[in-house]
Structures are given as C-alpha cells and as structure tokens.
Amino acid sequence: MSQGRPDATNAFNGVMREIRARNDEQYDPREPIRVWTDEDLTPDGVRTSLTAVLNTGGCRWARAGGCTMCGYVAESVPDGEVASEDILAQIDAIAAHEADALDEPAPLVKLYTSGSFLDERELSGATRKAIVERFGDRERVLVESLPEFITADRLDPLAAIGPQIDIAVGLETASDRIRQECINKVFTFEEFAAASEVAADADVGIKAYLLLKPPFLSEREALADAVESVRRCADHAHTVSVNPTNVQQYTLVEDLYHADGYRPPWLWSVASVLERTADTDAIVVSDPVGKGSDRGPHNCGECDDLVARAIEDFDRRQEPAVFDEVDCDCEQTWKEVLDRERSYGMVLDA
C-alpha cells in the first residue's frame, strides 16, 4: 500500500468517518444488498448477466474512512462480520431471484462485495469456493477485489472450478495522485499492473473500474484523466468499465454536492471518453448509475435518455459512430463548460 501523503489520508479518513457516522441504517445479513439481471459485453460476446452485491460485512477501508465518493459502507451489517452460512443464504436468495427473472441460467455471474471477495477477513477460502461452485455451470464468474489480495494461492482454487474467473478491480484512475488525494484510495497503478500479471498467470481475467469525475476536478480535468486512464488500463485488463460518479449518501462528494461544490459528470463526457478510447484493445463500457438524475451523470434533461441509450448501444457494439446519431443544444453548453470551468470556479452550470 502506497503512503504518498499520509497526512492527506488521515484527514480524509477523519472527515469520512464523521460523514458516515450520520448514517444509522442497518441491514439483514441473510439478504444480498442488491440483485438484478442485464446483458453485458464479455470478451466472448454479449451475454445475459446475473449481478449481485453481497453483504460481506462491507469494505474495511471504508470503515477506516474510505473513498470520497463511495457510500456502500453504509450498507453493511452492524458489527462488520457476516457468517459464512449467512453469505450462502444470500446466494440462495440470488439464485431464487434469477429463477424468477430468467428463463434459463445466466452465462455471466457478477458478484460484488463492496470490498474484496478475495479478502480472507470478508470471505474464507471455503466460502469463496462454495460460492463459485454454486455457479459452476456458468460461462464466466466475476468477483471484486483490491490488487493486494490478487495472489496465485487465492486465484488458483477458483480458476479450477470451471467458469472463467474475472476479477473486478476498482482502479478509479491511472493517476496515483488523483487516486490518493481526490479519492482517498491507497494503492498504486504499479500494484494494479503487478496484480494483473498475477491474474494472467492464473488464467484469470481483469476488469478495471474507473471513476469519471472524482471530486476537486473540473469537468475537463476529469474527462482528460478518464481518457488517459482507459488508455493506460487497456494493457492490463480485457475490459474497462468507466463509472461516472453518482452522488451517494453519506459521502464527501455528497457534502460538496449539497454545498453546490460538485456536479456529477455530463453524459456527454461519458460518451466522449468512450468515443475517444474506442481505438484501444480492451473492451470499454460504461453503465452510468443514476443517469439523468441530478445526483447522477446528466445532461440538460431533454437528451439524457437519448445519450444514455447511445452509451448502452456502444457498450454492446463498441462502435463510436453511435454517438454521431445523438444531438442536443446542450452539447454546446457542455463544450463551453469544458472550456471555461476551472477547479476554483465550480460549479459553472448551476
């Protein structure tokens, strides 16, 4: 773990703990936090997917303070420990949901944990194995982890089960400075690249998650950072998911947002990242959570649906021409904001 500016980390963690303390919600450890089905582009083509957010006691880093934009710690159990049997009960619930929603099992299963699936303190090796085995007949199973837990001894047992294993890594940005000092996430790009090597050796895939528009950056700075980050990731991941910030409760980003100091990115920016990185080797996709709402990535309100559909289309076809089809007066507004907004003059289009 990098320690570039421990003073910054301390300050952010202190502030974030205070913010999170305002939350007093509690969750049932035998229910997954969320579960849904969708269609996803995989290296093998578009597949029906079953996605779930498991409640595994939540992100340990978030308990220390955590990332400035992430509110998922709030959705964890009170004492931070979820028993193995409870986890497996969550898996049962997920399967039940799938049976309701789909005619046949989804070839792609994605299990997020708001933490690290590979972290022993969240899930034991046996539980991990049992979970993947429950989806042993599927084509591909994706789980989430920080780079530090991506080791051969943890990967090999899972890779052996059957489905192609993918590890989702929340890299957020290729810039170590922005990752640490704007997002308060404390590993380096070098650590991510190394983990990616380890995974490749275990025949495990890497899917990198990037954050579009961390706090403190102007729209242009955020856009430039995302484009650069996609390019640098492409060598280390078969898929890059660009996640525009949505304003989650009990986060630093939310505090800025309420004080008119933060605006989620424009959907034009999401489109622009995808368009400008379409030439990279990796699959580049984006699923803008909360799109079109004031707390999520949004344009003017008139064209949000249109642009969101183009992004969805791009996600499947990786064809930048999809963006030629969409047009709105507010694209000029967005370009003006790109030209004029400085990080000291945000939010310009309030």
Binding site: D7, R177, I178, F216, E221, L256, D260, D329, R340, G345
Partner: protein
C-alpha cells in the same frame, strides 16, 4: 507585496481600481482574457511562467464549496512569490495575506442566490486579504448580481457564467434570468437584441446578449462608484430578488460596511424606502446627534418640518421659520430618514445631501425612527420647553417622543400649515419675551456643534475654548482669541477642516484624536499609504487626521480608513492640508 493592483477611488466598500498589465484593466471589470491559470495541483505539479504579462493564477489546490475544513488545512500550502501579476486561490478558511496582487475565491458560484453566503464568504475573504489587492469571484457574475458583489468588495469577474447561461438558453438582464421561450420581447439595447425578434433569437444571440448585458452592468457599477452613488442603485436592484434585498440587509449590519463608509460624500442620496433607514451614513448621523450634540443657544426648542430644498436654511419655508423665531429659540428639524437635525448641523453630511419623498405620508417605520430619535435627543438636551411648529401629520411623532418626558409642549401649527401666517404668528407669540441670542452666538454654536459631531462630545468646548468666528455663513472660519486660525467650515460637507494650531488643540483636548504615525519624511500634497506606519483604526474616509512622524507634523483629510492606510502598500492615504517640519 502588491505591485500590480491599485485602488483609485472608493464608494463605501466598493472600489474602482486598475490591474497594471501592459493593457491596464479597470476594476470592477472582467478578467477573462487577462488571466492565465497555472493549473490545478489536484491533477499534477504545475509551473509558472514568471515573464507572463497576464494575471497568473498561481498553481492551486482549489477547494469547492462544501470542502471540510480539515481537508483544506491539510492541503493549504504557502504561496510562492513572483515578480509578476499573480493571484492566489483561497477560500474563507484559507484566505490571508499571500503576497499576491489578487485573490480568487474558490467555489464562488455557490454563493449565488444565497444572501448569507454572499455576505459571509465574500466579506470574510475581503477582510482576510489586504485591502489593496483585487478580489476575483470566478464563474459567478451575472448582470443582476455584479452590483451587490462589487458592494461586498469584489473587483474582478468573468463572462463564464453569462456565456454558459446563454448556451443554456437563459437570457440575463439586471432584472434576473428568463428562459428564451418565455421572452415575448427582447428587453435590451444590445446589437443582438436590436437586430432580432424573439422568434429568431437563438442561443448564439443569447450568449452575445448576456456578455453585452454583463459588460453594461459592470460599467454601470463603475460609473456609480465614480459618482459615489452605488448604494442608491443597489436599493433599486434589491427589488429584483428577495435574496438580493436580504444581502444588503445583512451587509448593513456588518462592521465591515461601517468601517468602509465615509464620513462625508460629495453626492446626493435618494431616500425612498426603509432600506435607506438602515444605511450606515444615516445611522451614524442619528447616533452622533444623539450622543454628541449639545444645544447651546436657547432653552426653547422649536421643532419644524424639514424642507425639500437643501440645506433647509435656503428654503422659503425655513426662511419664514427663521423670521418668526428671530433668534429666540433653537430650531430643530424633523425628517425621515435622518431623524433630528439641529440648526447647527444643517450643512453636515448627509443633512444637505438627501432627496426624499414628500407626499406627507409617513410609514410606521419612519414614525418610529423619527420619534425614537427625537426622544433620545430631547432626553440628552436640557430644554425647558418645546414648541412643536409642525403640521398635523407630525403630531404622532412628537407625541410619541415626548409621552414619557416631563416637557411642556406648545403646538403652534398643527391646525394650519406651518407656513400659514396665522401659524407663524402663533410661533412668534409663543416666543414673546424670550431673550434673543446674538448672531455671533449662533456662529459659535455652529463651529462647536460641528466639532462635537465630528470629533466627539465636548470637543467643541475643548478645541474652541476661546473662539472668534470670521467670514459669513456657510464659510465660517474659527480663530483663537489671539487671531490664530484653528479651523474652517467646509460648506459642501458641513465639517471642520483644521489648521495645524487646531490640530494641536485637538491633540490636547480630552476627546480621542484620530492620529497616524508616518515614516521619516515631510509629506507634500498627500501621504501615500506605504508611508503610514500606523493609524487609528477608527479613522474613516473623510475624517480629519493628525499625522505625526520624526520629521513632520501634519493635518489632513483621510482618503482611506485607518486599517487600510496602515496595511496598504499603494495609493493615497490622506490629502494633507497643512504640514510643519520638526
């Protein structure tokens, strides 16, 4: 040290100034093209081109509105020093003297529509940075808002917000913002508006219009500051939105504003609403009359209505009152918004400078303010009798003011107009047998009362213990009994201008003297701010100030407030009237 910005004129807290670039930038003004941003260090390390002629925003970690103080403290770094026009990015939490010519308020757009934030954040930064530096509010200026921002002490703006709003199809005027689709007319004189109809007017036009409207609004602000009449304009602007009105109300209650309000001003004020009653100049006058004035001429007060003509003494009505009183009583005028104006202070700012509605209908607020002022006044004086020579609509005021006082009131004009001969006769009759004071006594009272008003209670008797008045009203000159001139009345302001001998008496008198310490030089014409070592923080623009230094003793009139002259590195602190080498 500030080398590239200079304040050239003040109107209360608002200033005219110049950013000294190759192509000098007038302020308040738009900085757009004259600005270079060295960049955000949230992204990467940045460098500065010290040879640039532009105003360079030094490398920054800007904190958006809502950034927790701990984060700001952690990332707050010292500012590098360049021999070039530079600006530092600050927040209310990190604002301090950073040696730059200008300061950028980070997160400025968030103060829009928030009266509390406009006052708290802009004023907090303005007070924390040196007064002779420029304050830039990025991404905030709209035609409606700039006057208020300039009044809060901002100097630099940009077109960013106006351009973006235009792109959004929002049409901006000094009245506010309208959606293009709601326009049935193009209520503007700009070329884009005059050459289009609402049907043909597009977003490009709207951008052109918004920038022209902003420039016009900023030019209006500059013109008004130049005229010393920004406040009147603001009171009109405050009808455009309740939060603008609220911002002015909040500013009115700040020491910030009080400190920046001049003692006198060579401009009229339009008094047409309760907002005027809250003006510092008005409150200050009322306060000083209540606390400093003492009536010397007679034990009988004659209360009369004010006149539209200023000074009152020049009006036909007051000519009649004067004739009827005939040196037998002390004339006291009742007026909104000033309250009470004793005859000695009719010239004193703003008594001869305001222009008010004279429909003869008083609001309850005016009744209360004037009645309270009158009650305070009468309690402070020792009149034996009050003659109320006022029309019927003043009666509630006088009654309310005197109901708890044990003072006989004679009503001489409440049944007819005070200018009617019968009323004047009643006034004359009421004063029958009353002793007449001499013209000289009236002149002495004027000099001493102005001294009390200007320097503090008792100053008139202390400084002008022996007194011989020369010349004619309003250009009175005060001499000591040995003939030395001590002071002269300035007719435009109704204040005293002291001679060196007068200044020495002020120093010796038992009232606070407004003094400044200067470096080792002999000032001629004016004292520049860098020459001021220290200055009484109570000094206001327009105050008489005594300057003492190793080589010189001088007296003059302040053109900066005390804190400003002590801290500024540029500009004229004071116009020196008399100087003596030591």
């Amino acid at each position: 040290m500030t080398q590239f910005f200079e304040v050239t004129r003040r109107d209360g807290p608002a200033r005219l100034g110049t950013v000294r670039l190759d192509d000098p930038l007038q302020t308040p003004g738009r900085v757009d093209d004259a600005l270079v941003d060295a960049g955000s260090e949230w992204v990467t390390d940045r460098s500065v081109d010290p040879t640039s002629d532009a105003l360079t925003v030094l490398p920054h970690r800007a904190f958006p509105a809502g950034t927790p103080t701990d984060i700001q403290t952690t990332f707050d770094e010292p500012t590098a020093d360049y021999d070039a026009p530079t600006a530092a990015v600050v927040t209310p939490e990190t604002a301090r003297d950073r040696g730059t010519d200008a300061y950028v308020l980070s997160g400025a757009p968030a103060v829009d529509r928030d009266a509390r934030a406009i006052v708290d954040r802009v004023v907090a930064v303005r007070e924390a940075i040196p007064s002779d530096t420029a304050l830039y509010l990025p991404g905030l200026a709209t035609p409606r808002l700039v006057a208020t921002l300039a009044y809060a002490g901002a100097d630099l703006f940009d077109a960013d917000r106006a351009v973006v709003a235009g792109r959004q199809g929002r049409y901006l005027t000094v009245e506010g913002s309208r959606r293009l689709q709601d326009l049935t007319d193009l209520p503007c004189a700009c070329s884009a508006c005059r050459s289009a109809t609402p049907d043909t007017f597009d977003r490009d036009d709207c951008v052109t219009h918004n920038v022209a409207a902003l420039d016009a609004a900023i030019a209006t602000v500059r013109q008004r500051i130049h005229e010393g009449r920004l406040r009147d304009y603001l009171e009109g602007q405050s009808k455009q939105a309740r939060w603008l009105a609220e911002a002015i109300e909040r500013l009115d209650d700040t020491d910030y504003l009080e400190q920046r309000t001049p003692l006198v001003r060579n401009a009229s004020m339009t008094a047409t609403g309760d907002a005027t009653l809250r003006r510092v100049e008005i409150r200050r006058f009322a306060e000083r009359v209540a606390e400093r004035f003492s009536a010397r001429l007679s034990e009988t007060a004659v209360l009369v209505p004010c006149s539209a003509t200023k000074p009152y003494g020049d009006s036909p009505s007051h000519g009649q009152f004067r004739g009827a009183i005939d040196y037998r009583a002390h004339k006291v005028s009742l007026t909104s918004p000033l309250g009470v104006v004793p005859q000695e202070l009719e010239l004193t700012y703003p008594a001869q400078h305001y222009d008010t509605v004279v429909t003869g209908s008083w609001t309850d607020t005016e009744v209360a303010v004037v009645a309270d002022a009158l009650e305070r006044y009468l309690r402070a004086q020792e009149y034996e009798r009050v003659i109320a020579h006022v029309p019927a609509d003043y009666r509630p005021i006088v009654e309310r003011a005197t109901r708890d006082l044990d003072l006989p009131i004679v009503w001489t004009a409440d049944e007819t107009h005070p200018r009617d001969q019968s009323a004047l006769d009643r006034l004359d009759e009421a004063l029958a047998g009353q002793e007449r004071y001499r013209k000289r006594a009236r002149q002495h009272a004027i000099v001493r009362s102005i001294a009390d008003y200007q320097f503090g209670a008792g100053a008139g008797d202390a400084i002008f213990e022996d007194l011989s008045v020369q010349s004619f009203h309003p250009k009175l000159r005060a001499h000591a009994s040995d003939g030395t001139q001590l002071a002269a009345v300035v007719p435009e302001y109704g204040t005293l201008a002291l001679s060196l001998a007068g200044a020495r008496r002020w120093l010796d008198a038992d009232v606070p003297t407004l003094t400044a310490t200067i470096d080792d030089f002999v000032p001629h014409g004016s004292v520049l701010a860098p020459g001021v070592v220290d200055a009484d923080p109570a000094i206001r623009v327009g105050d008489e100030v005594v300057f003492e230094g190793p080589s010189a003793f001088a007296v003059g009139r302040a053109t900066m407030s005390g804190p400003e002259m002590a801290a500024s590195t540029r500009g004229i602190a004071c116009e020196v009237r008399h100087v003596e080498t030591r």
